[in-house]
Structure formats: C-alpha cells, structure tokens
Symmetry: C2
Subunit: 189 residues, 2 copies
C-alpha cells in the first residue's frame, strides 16, 4: 500500500467498518440472521476522518447509512453510474468504499485490508464500528436448500464466530491503532 | 369498508402483500431472522392491478421494491413529506400503502385488512406475494436483552408460525379470492 502524499508526508490511513453482518442459514440462502445497525456512527465518523486528512477505507454493509448522504436511503448512490473506480477524493482526504453483506465477506475483506495495511505500522488505524455477528452456521453443517416448514419446532445450533479482533491485532496489522465498540445494553430503561 | 365507486359500480379491492417478514430473536431486538425477498413481484403486480381498475392495499416490507419506482431504493419516498394521507389516486385506481417489518406486525395488519374486507365478499381479493417466516420465537420464550456471546455454541428452538392462510380463508374473509405463492426451490441448479 502506497502511503505517502504528494508532499512526501506519510498519509494516515483508517479503515472504518460500519453496519451489521448477516449469517446465512442455508447455502442457497433464503433466510439469514441479521444484526440491526443503521451504520450512522461509521458514516459520520468517516466524514470527520476525511476532514482531518485521513485516507479512509469505508467497509460498509450494503444499504446502510453512507457518508455525505446520511439522510438519504443507503443505496441511493447505486442509481448513479461510477465512471472510474471506487476511490474518490473528498476535500483534502481520500475515501474508498467497499460493501459487504455476510459475516464471511466482511471477515475476508477485513483480512485483505489489514494485511495490506501491515506495512503502514502506526500510520494505520482501525475504527471497528460494524455490528459483527457473534454466532454463525458453519458451511458444512448448513442445509443446502430452504429449511422446510413442518408441524414441529426447529432446533438450530449456532457456533461462536472466532474472535478475529485479536488476530487482527496480533498477526494482520500488529502496529496499527485499534478502536472497537461494544453494543450498549440498557438494563434499566 | 366503502366499496362502490362514483358511478355506483362495485369497486374491486385487492390486498397485495410483498417482501419478507422478520423474526426478532430478542425482546429489545438487536438480532433477527430475515427472509430474503426484493418485493419485485408484489410491486409489479400492484401496478397492473391499479391499471386494471382495482383499489389496491399494498402491504409491504419497509425498504423493499415499491410500485412506480421499482428501480429506485425502496425507501426513497421516505425522503418526501406526505401532505395528506397514505392513500392516493393513481390513474383509474386507488393505492393504499401500509408498511410492516416483523411477522407480528404483518399478521396483525393482515387480520385488520381482511376482516375489513369481509363484507366485500367476492369483490375482495388477496394476492399474497410476501415471504412470510415459517418459524419464530414466541414472545414469552424470548430473552429480553441481546444474546451474549460465549465460548460455546448457541442452541435455539424456533416454533412454527401458525398457518394463518387457512384462518384468512375460513374466518377473516371467507368469500374473497385468494392467490398465494410458494417459494421456488431449485433442486438441480
């Protein structure tokens, strides 16, 4: 990853993750478990990072809140044709938007980004605002076709998603600065 | 429900359901099971019913495909303010759009619509294109807060959703004409 600007100063790069991941319940997926997240925190923070001169990689759930059009439907920009590439210059910063839907896509793209950012060292930052699934159905134990309805109950066993945050910090980009969020649980509301 | 037009002829009314229902997994819902459905069949059929002179009640999943703007993001119309009410005259027909998200909302609104259409008799029609959840978590067995992640697997027991189609046909609107769809399963693709 090239990490110097035109004036030779190192460019600070931040990867912002945003929105919820899905967990498919069938290989030819009709049903999936979703995590509710508007993506507002990630989209808003992205605008501020760009304003502060960062090059931002915005890894976002399809259809969620987008920077610079937070009050519009998330996928409104899909109505316009992108003539060059997914990267764009915004003010003094750069913005690269990469979409995901499932937990599998999310983790694979995150690994690609973080290993690419490995050599940025402390110039790299991760701002992990995505609502990542805690449980999933492993591919080999997933039924191929739509689960059939029946008269009895349906029992499902979900496996815990491996904790990739520690892998990111230890192996993928050990010198990057990491910020992560835990969902707020309101016990007395 | 008033069911005659200005010239005294009875108005044919169709309730079109469209898009997938969700099943919340927690009472203060963070996670939910979703059924994939673009809502294209329901939105397209609605346009044709209106063109044929029907008064259409379009019971649709929030954010899915909408009649007359099928190539735009589903919730683009939320950006505009509705000045009067949710019902509108379109060409020679009428269109009332009612949104749902969860299976609970869907079934409650469907019951209200169908009992209101009871006295239309054979002038009433149901065109059930929504992808309705087959399994759900009953409210009393649902955890209140977000399911906590843990080291072990998560076992979930889902109850079958009561088959409301037969209740609709027998009790709610026994003389209405019903069209329903079953999801296509491709066994040899």
């Amino acid at each position: 990853m090239d990490c110097s600007s035109e004036d030779g100063k190192p460019v600070r790069v931040v990867c912002v993750t945003s929105g919820g991941t899905t967990v498919p319940l069938e290989q030819r997926c009709v049903r999936y478990i979703d995590n509710f997240s508007s993506g507002n925190r990630g989209a808003t923070s992205t605008e501020y990072f760009v304003k502060a001169g960062y090059a931002v990689i915005f890894l976002n759930r399809r259809g969620t809140c987008q920077p610079y059009c937070r009050n519009l439907p998330g996928d409104i920009l899909d109505c316009f044709e992108v003539t060059e590439n997914l990267s764009m210059q915004v003010g003094d910063g750069f913005l690269l938007k990469l979409p995901f839907t499932s937990i599998f896509e999310y983790l694979q793209i995150l690994r690609m980004i973080s290993t690419s950012m490995h050599n940025l060292g402390a110039q790299g930052m991760f701002y992990l605002a995505a609502a990542v699934s805690d449980f999933y159905v492993p591919w080999e134990s997933m039924v191929e076709h739509k689960i059939q309805s029946a008269s009895g109950p349906l029992d499902m066993r979900l496996a815990p998603v491996p904790k990739m945050l520690s892998t990111l910090r230890k192996d993928w980009a050990p010198n990057a600065f990491c910020i992560s969020f835990k969902v707020a649980i309101f016990m007395h509301m």
